[in-house]
Symmetry: none
């Protein structure tokens, strides 16, 4: 099974947006044992979109067309696919209703040109939209008597990701014939570099290169952690699952100390669960991250039964007046501890977690860019750690979030073990 | 002049690396008035690299081949280009010396397979490497009697950037004859849907479709706002700039009330600048966004001279005990105002900005998911607004950030106007 990708949008060619969608789909397709051998960026031009679709369909069994499904004059993917199918665009009354209701539910009138999003090529199936207004399309095409398929999905990443897993991948696997089942397991790690992981897993990697199934891949994912993905293929789901778990336990044996979560688990969800299980509430005190820790934790529904809130103490006077940090350098372990104790006291939380550091561009209090001091205060006392993170401002702040949460995670595990 | 791009590397198709090189080159080419209409990713496979080069050379005057110049067996760009040129690869003795010396200067022995990097197709010119070991190539090819060119450049970004400006762009401009210039302007808007923009600009869009230059496109960018991009082309930079500003003022006349920034300006930077110019400090009170507003504002270096900090009041008790919110529903305009006044008082800030709302999954206090109440407190008094945002949790929270900052921006502009 080969599925190539056509990313549509002049802004992609002009470099105003980097095409991360093709890379993301390439990763998902590879993990499912589907080849993606060509990925093309084309502008908002019907003639060129049609030409590229026809070229890609010569060698590929399927093409995913990403972007160009919006309501405006330069959204031309629907028109291009209809031309390739040799069919007409017709207005789908049900879609019109869905889109009208979506606007109504937001108390807004539907602009007339949103009707463009209800236009569907004859013979195409609709992938219902659950997040935006642009529905996706599954468009069968016959190429020299061979049945192939073109998918149309939105370019907005979270809409694309939802449709890809809900409709595109299942349809591709169905068309792939021989029902080989693919199961993936992602082990999320924190505390080891990619090359460090490579060394620790070298014997297993060598063995897997030989047997070829399952496959193992590393994915460095910033504040999502460094992922180790195992993907097993077999005739049946249970066969794939068995193969997977056998190798997963071998990998875990090597990485036991740094694996913090599996598949959809994030550092945030893991920390919240640990606190929830022990009936503990959390209060934050953020300086260098300016609220990013709270923003990440509250992205998870149900965070409210653990997280009471936080103090973003960006100005030094706020650290002193609100959190009671005493005189002296504010990027230091003593300051981090006072911030953690301060927020724990002020918010009436069981656990206080504090971050103070230097994101740059300039150093501060003689501390170099990349310095992070984490303070944790609990009923059993307080502790602090200093870590040194890669320099650039944004990545440093993101790595600060996962580093601080990982320290809290490890402390909670130690305490649970001690009890 | 048309120059397409071929990015070579299986890791790009597998999503292990995002292809930022094509985007970067697309941006540089556009700025130099060179069209780049197709950008293709292909894996480390000679047959497919050759096929793609030949396809792209049908329509393009030039193709930049990026990556696959390393020393290993899967670096095949040189071989593919030689095949397209119909010439042989020969070992270039001078290059061998350069590469040997580069290793020697690092006190290392040159591995034999680095000799691959000294292989050059007959008839190709060498772009000397100044940063790594892989030289670039300028390879003339004749396509149906028409003289065209293929460039080979390394995939390592800083090596690519150096070679592109030092050798590739000058050669393209030389071949292009007198180059035309392209200038883009992005107007960032908030407060109108993409299709609403389309309706308001319909007369201008129709006119531009007719004249064809400048072009106009919309870019929905979540909490970056909704972008309107004008791109003008002319023989000279000043000509393009003149054309651009003429049409920009026409677009601005239609969208004056919703344009908040230009090009690189963000809602965060605009709001911080407005406050800074008036010498005002800011304090935040976040519930539904859990710290995202603070996280965005502090992503900007220098935010510290405006932002004192914030209170993430996620639990209702924290809203009451820390911010002094009185009994009654906490997702309401009165609560938003009390939160804004509370943080302004507690942090000693001139302006207090508060967000309380319902991100879902469930409704709260009888308020539907998507409800956002924004409170703003200044020395001149307090105000609140309620807005309804699209439902999903993550996008709702992101739109809440830009919506709240936009309300503050509008209030600050009104106050400045009144003074």
């Amino acid at each position: 099974m080969r599925c190539d990708v056509l990313a549509v949008g002049t802004e992609l060619l002009l470099g105003q947006i980097v095409d991360t969608n093709s890379s993301w789909m390439g990763e998902q397709l590879a993990a499912s044992g589907i080849d993606s051998l060509l990925q093309v960026k084309v502008g908002d031009n019907v003639g060129r979109i049609v030409a590229q679709l026809e070229r890609l369909l010569v060698d590929a069994d399927a093409v995913i067309c990403c972007g160009g499904l919006g309501p405006t004059h330069d959204d031309l993917t629907r028109d291009a696919i209809a031309a390739v199918m040799g069919s007409e665009l017709r207005l789908d009354d049900d879609l019109v209703e869905v889109i009208r209701e979506m606007f109504a539910s937001r108390g807004r009138r539907m602009p007339e040109n949103n009707l463009r999003q209800a236009m569907v090529p004859d013979g195409a199936m609709i992938i219902p939209q659950t997040r935006g207004t642009a529905p996706g399309l599954i468009c069968p095409v016959s190429v020299g008597g061979v049945e192939k398929v073109v998918f149309a999905v939105p370019g907005v990443p979270h809409e694309l990701h939802d449709m890809f897993h809900r409709a595109v991948l299942p349809e591709l696997l169905r068309r792939g014939g021989e029902p080989s089942s693919i199961v993936s397991r992602v082990l999320r790690t924190w505390g080891e570099s990619e090359s460090g992981l490579n060394e620790r897993l070298h014997p297993i990697i060598t063995e897997l290169d030989h047997v070829g199934n399952p496959t193992l891949a590393f994915l460095a994912s910033g504040w999502e952690g460094l992922k180790v993905r195992l993907t097993a293929k077999a005739a049946t789901p249970s066969g794939a699952a068995g193969l997977l778990s056998a190798w997963e336990s071998r990998v875990r044996a090597e990485l036991d100390d740094i694996v913090f979560g599996v598949d959809g688990e994030t550092m945030e969800s893991v920390v919240l669960d640990l606190l929830r299980r022990r009936g503990l509430t959390l209060g934050l005190a953020e300086s260098v991250t300016g609220g990013l820790v709270g923003g990440r934790l509250t992205a998870i529904p149900g965070a409210s039964d653990v997280l009471r809130g936080g103090i973003v103490a960006y100005a030094t006077e706020v650290k002193r007046s609100v959190l009671g940090v005493s005189d002296g350098p504010v990027v230091s372990e003593p300051a981090a501890i006072e911030m953690a104790e301060g927020t724990r006291r002020l918010l009436g939380a069981d656990v206080g977690l504090a971050l103070t550091g230097v994101a740059g561009p300039a150093e501060q209090d003689g501390m170099p860019v990349g310095t992070l001091c984490v303070g944790i205060a609990t009923a059993e006392g307080a502790m602090a750690r200093t870590v040194r993170l890669p320099g650039q401002r944004d990545p440093m702040r993101q790595l600060a979030v996962i580093s601080a949460l990982d320290l809290l995670r490890r402390l909670l595990l130690e305490q649970s073990a001690a009890h």
